[in-house]
């Protein structure tokens, strides 16, 4: 009888200690993730809400906070009629083509380098050079290489008898293609490295079994390598598509959206509207479109991943 209160007390003390332990864990946890969470909240979460809010307003930054004018969906209605916006969106769609192109090249290069060459290390570095170089330096070099009248590329073409080579980035019909070519050139290294890593995880005995069945290199590539790389391909496709929507640096350095709007793209137009024309509300509506597009692709990825990727 007399021991009962003692055990109760003991249990109480135990659960109290547990509570205080748990509280200690919570405090520690918050301290550890706090800085990142705080930074993300201030720099991304609140700003994205602000972007969506501002997309329904008309605001010239210079006018100050009281200059904000609620316009409801006015900006979006205007976007639908805005030739430059439609052109940007269209260019973004055309730009999507670079993704399958560089993925295909990277996959083939990765397979060749992985299995059929000497000096693997050299090739890895060579193809990877454009990725580690800054886009500004790369853009500047290509700008000179593409120089219409006496740049090396056109001199080369002239030497082959092409009397009237394109003016590349100075030509409205070729500017976007030129930028796409440079983008393919830059992106191959990164994609190739990811593919090479994925190739390491394909069991070697699959190839040996196929060899016994008399499969040649092509069949092995088409029936073993490509299907087993499909999760990687899917990942590269999605991240690649998202990154084409974020293209900005190369356009800012090389063409500034020109000549005559032929290389304008979503983010360039956003930048131009916000920071050159100080049209904050309208720029925010473009940013919101960008956000929705990227989110849609990400959501689509989750849905498709289950169906499309075969492990």
């Amino acid at each position: 009888m007399s021991t009962a209160p003692v055990t109760v007390k003991k249990a109480e003390a135990k659960s109290k200690r547990k509570v205080s332990l748990q509280r200690g864990e919570t405090i520690a946890g918050l301290l550890f993730v706090g800085p990142m969470f705080l930074g993300v909240t201030i720099l991304v979460l609140l700003p994205i809400l602000a972007t969506v809010f501002l997309s329904f307003t008309k605001w010239n930054f210079v006018a100050g906070i009281q200059g904000i004018e609620w316009t409801s969906v006015g900006n979006y209605q205007e976007l639908l009629k805005d030739d430059m916006f439609i052109k940007s969106l269209r260019n973004n769609m055309i730009f999507l083509l670079v993704v399958p192109i560089y993925m295909l090249v990277s996959m083939v290069l990765a397979v060749i380098i992985d299995r059929f060459v000497y000096f693997k290390g050299f090739f890895k570095v060579a193809y990877f050079m454009p990725y580690i170089s800054s886009i500004v330096a790369v853009a500047v070099v290509w700008q000179v290489l593409f120089e219409p009248s006496y740049g090396p590329i056109n001199e080369f073409l002239k030497a082959f008898g092409i009397t009237d080579p394109p003016k590349w980035i100075a030509d409205p019909n070729f500017a976007l293609i030129s930028i796409m070519m440079i983008t393919v050139w830059v992106s191959i290294g990164f994609n190739m490295i990811v593919y090479m890593a994925a190739l390491q995880s394909i069991p070697k005995d699959l190839y040996e079994a196929a060899e016994i069945d008399g499969a040649n290199n092509w069949i092995k590539f088409a029936r073993i390598t490509v299907p087993l790389l499909s999760p990687t391909s899917f990942f590269l496709l999605v991240t690649g598509i998202i990154s084409t929507f974020k293209v900005f640096d190369i356009i800012a350095v090389l063409t500034q959206g020109g000549p005559i709007g032929s290389t304008t793209m979503l983010v360039w137009y956003l930048y131009d509207t916000a920071f050159q024309n100080l049209n904050i509300g309208y720029a925010s509506s473009i940013a919101s479109v960008l956000l929705v597009l990227v989110l849609l692709i990400t959501l689509g990825q989750w849905v498709a991943q289950k169906k499309w990727v075969n492990y």
């Binding site: 946890g29 993730v33 720099l43 700003p47 059929f116 000179v144 191959i188 990811v194 998202i242 956000l291």
Partner: protein
Amino acid sequence: MHDFRALDWRKALVTILMFAASVLFLLPFIWMLVTSFKTENEVFTYPIRWIPTSWNAAENYRQVWFGDYPFILYYWNSIKVSVLTTVISCTVSAMAAYGFSKIHFKGSKWLFLIILTTYMIPSQAVLVPQFILYRYIGLFDSHLGLVIIGSFSVLGTFMLRQFFMGVHQEFIESAKIDGAGHGRIFWSIAMPLVRPAIATYAILRFIWTWNDYQGPLIFLRSDNLFTIQLAMQKFTSMSGQFYSLIMAAAVSAILPLLIVFIIGQKSVVEGIALGGVKG
């Protein structure tokens, strides 16, 4: 049995073909380097002179580094911003990664989900509010502002979390029984175990920050704060026709990264392969 000699011969042929293809990737860099050594009137001679007839390297680089555009200053700015961003980003990311993987606390899942959500938001969609915020709190046109933006990229949290999850829970538990708090466990037990991962992330973060153009373009205005990327772009538009100088500037901008890459090549390649991380 395989005929090894025949196999080797084919492999050699493929190597030669691949070498020819890799020229496409290296030639622009070689051209850049060679051009930076030339006198201006030799830049566009055709056929391309791969070995300059008149060397002007010293003069070109002197003009770029000590001329009207003080590249030494821009270098210093880039080094400062890149190193600070890398150090802070690694610290904050490692702490968050440890918190999310090794401390079990209420709300941890929700906080992680929120951070995961922000990862999907393209950085350009928040540029305008960030810019306004920076103008308002006085971080606009400062290196500190740039460092802060770069340091709170959530990518590091995800990357490092994978590695912290690989640290056995027994290590943590037994340290706790010995009376160590999470601060001690993080610093003296978990961190040393994930050091290679931190190194990989640090190199990648350094490369990304060094190469960043968009951030400095939006958040810097004063010439004397420019990073090398911004300075080079300005230098290019100002120097117009002086292509040899522009190439000398480009070589100067790429060189430090090339060195970082060659030193840390293995971790860079592994890091990229691991998560397929980018940007």
